[in-house]
Symmetry: C2
Subunit: 320 residues, 2 copies
């Protein structure tokens, strides 16, 4: 059942012993929502804990300052930034019993007993800011840090087109509450692990250009990833953004070797090309600016297919 902020507040005030679930492969938005809500409920005198099916990367450690570790029998499950219980990994069954979901994904499957949804918000953390404010909890520095992280990470630090005037106004209010934006943004957007740096260098060595430079392709082979110590999936995933950053490139392609001879192509595009149309030709999908598809074939064949389809799209758009 879809509900509004007022009803979410009534529910949160009337109950206790909350278990807050954050999605697998956690990002700044789900973690920011989980820890800020947990901290807010604790400040109301409630018992609450926030958990994630996957390990939380160390760069988010500062968020734990917002909460106190509590042991209690959990009675009410809340999912934050979780569009589908499939995204909860081992915790899927708990998600299926969710009393409340707070989310911003248009694809939300409405699995929870109560759903507070804002599809037009850039980050679920923007909605969490409104919920915590409506709960009457004063947003202190640690809670502000969590919410700010969600807002900043889901908008590429206010760079992406999902940013709205409201996003900036919430950021301003969080700064007034003490959000420590410089170290957070450094950790989220500037910091590179030595492994990521090494992988970038290896991957960019082999970059190739097609269609008069409108298409760029990089390849992330398993043997290369395995040869670099201390590399995580975040580092590997970050490669997908590289080819599209090069001047003149309208379609950036990253081909990643997965286990069992599968090659996954990640496509990124300028506003002149809809890459979801290209991905669909190979059974994949996604958004206009970011899409993907998989190939169970040789690397050479996968590369040939995706490059040909991309060059055709560039021609069709009249760019060459």
């Amino acid at each position: 059942m879809k509900i509004e902020i007022k009803e979410a507040v009534e529910f949160l005030r009337s109950q206790d012993d909350y278990l807050i679930l954050m999605h697998a492969s956690p990002d700044g938005d789900t973690l920011g929502c989980g820890f800020s809500l947990c901290g807010a409920l604790q400040r109301m005198g409630k018992r609450a804990k926030a958990v994630c099916p996957d390990e939380i990367p160390h760069r988010f450690d500062y968020m734990r300052e917002a909460v106190t570790e509590q042991e209690f029998e959990e009675r009410n499950i809340i999912c934050v930034d979780v569009a589908d219980t499939k995204l909860l990994g081992d915790m899927k069954e708990m998600g299926d019993r969710a009393a409340l979901c707070i989310d911003h994904h248009v694809s939300n499957t409405e699995y929870a007993e109560r759903l507070l949804l804002r599809e037009n918000y850039a980050a679920a953390a923007e909605l969490m800011y409104e919920v915590i404010t409506a709960l009457g909890v004063e947003i202190d520095r640690p809670i502000a840090n969590c919410i700010y992280t969600g807002v900043a990470t889901d908008t590429g630090c206010f760079k992406f087109s999902n940013t709205t005037p409201q996003t900036h106004i919430i950021a301003a209010k969080l700064m007034e509450c003490g959000a420590e934006i410089a170290p957070i943004n450094y950790a989220m957007f500037e910091l590179k692990t030595p492994g990521r740096l090494k992988l970038e260098q290896e991957v960019l060595k082999g970059i190739s250009f097609h269609a008069e430079g409108h298409v760029a392709v990089i390849t992330v082979m398993k043997s290369v990833v395995d040869s670099i110590p201390d590399i995580d999936s975040d580092d590997v995933g970050a490669m997908a953004a590289l080819p599209r950053q090069i001047e003149g490139v309208d379609i950036g392609i990253s081909i990643k070797e997965k286990k069992g001879g599968i090659f996954k192509a990640s496509l990124r595009s300028s506003e002149r090309i809809d890459v979801s149309e290209i991905a669909k030709q190979f059974g994949g999908g996604g958004h206009a600016r970011a899409a993907g598809c998989s190939f169970s074939t040789t690397f050479e064949e996968a590369e040939r297919l995706i490059v040909e389809a991309s060059c055709a799209a560039v021609r069709q758009a009249g760019l060459i």
Copy 2:
């Protein structure tokens, strides 16, 4: 003479035939201020033009949409984001006759007849937003794009510690006026020329670490820069940020070979080290987080000196 916004508005309303000067090696803030003020004055029915002593990089071309080219005899000179007339290159003498300066640099030399200064603003463009609003000019999409560019570029897209709640509130207002943030931010923060990408790769090949990884050094040799076609000073300058982005690095050093056997070291640091103290040891200076100094010696000697001083600073800070 220092003045307030009200007096700047009175001056701008009472005069005509404005020549607006933007500083050499132009950045988004000086250009955003220059073109937005020029456009605003033209919308008031005044004659105005904005000029820069250096060529304006193509990625700022969209700013010209805010203005109309006009030919007239210039009678009143305005400098924007120009702390010192030395920063005007060939146009220094015109700057010395400035009737008005609008700026945010604490180092402003008060050269202009009237100085409107806000040292605590992250960008001069924040102040320009206030001036144009006070002039009663409606901020349309092209003017909003110019001001937004100044605000975004001087704050690293709201990432740096100079960002204030006001910065975000102005960004929200500019979005409401139609600022096209996604393409602007792509051009300012994501786009890399093929030359920059190549230089990054070359420079990172030779990165070295010292003091248990707390100090990282890259070298930008003239022969390497000269071997890459279509590279500009922006691309070369951007290298200085790279070493400090690596996890664990507290002092990032970039040593650049200049003409005539001079080596310039650019230092960037975490909040745990004040690099201006290191630069001062060699006759340089700057800020706590970003400083620089020059060496008229061999490369090996320059590297040895700056690395030794940096390692000493790391030890003194108790990091090793």
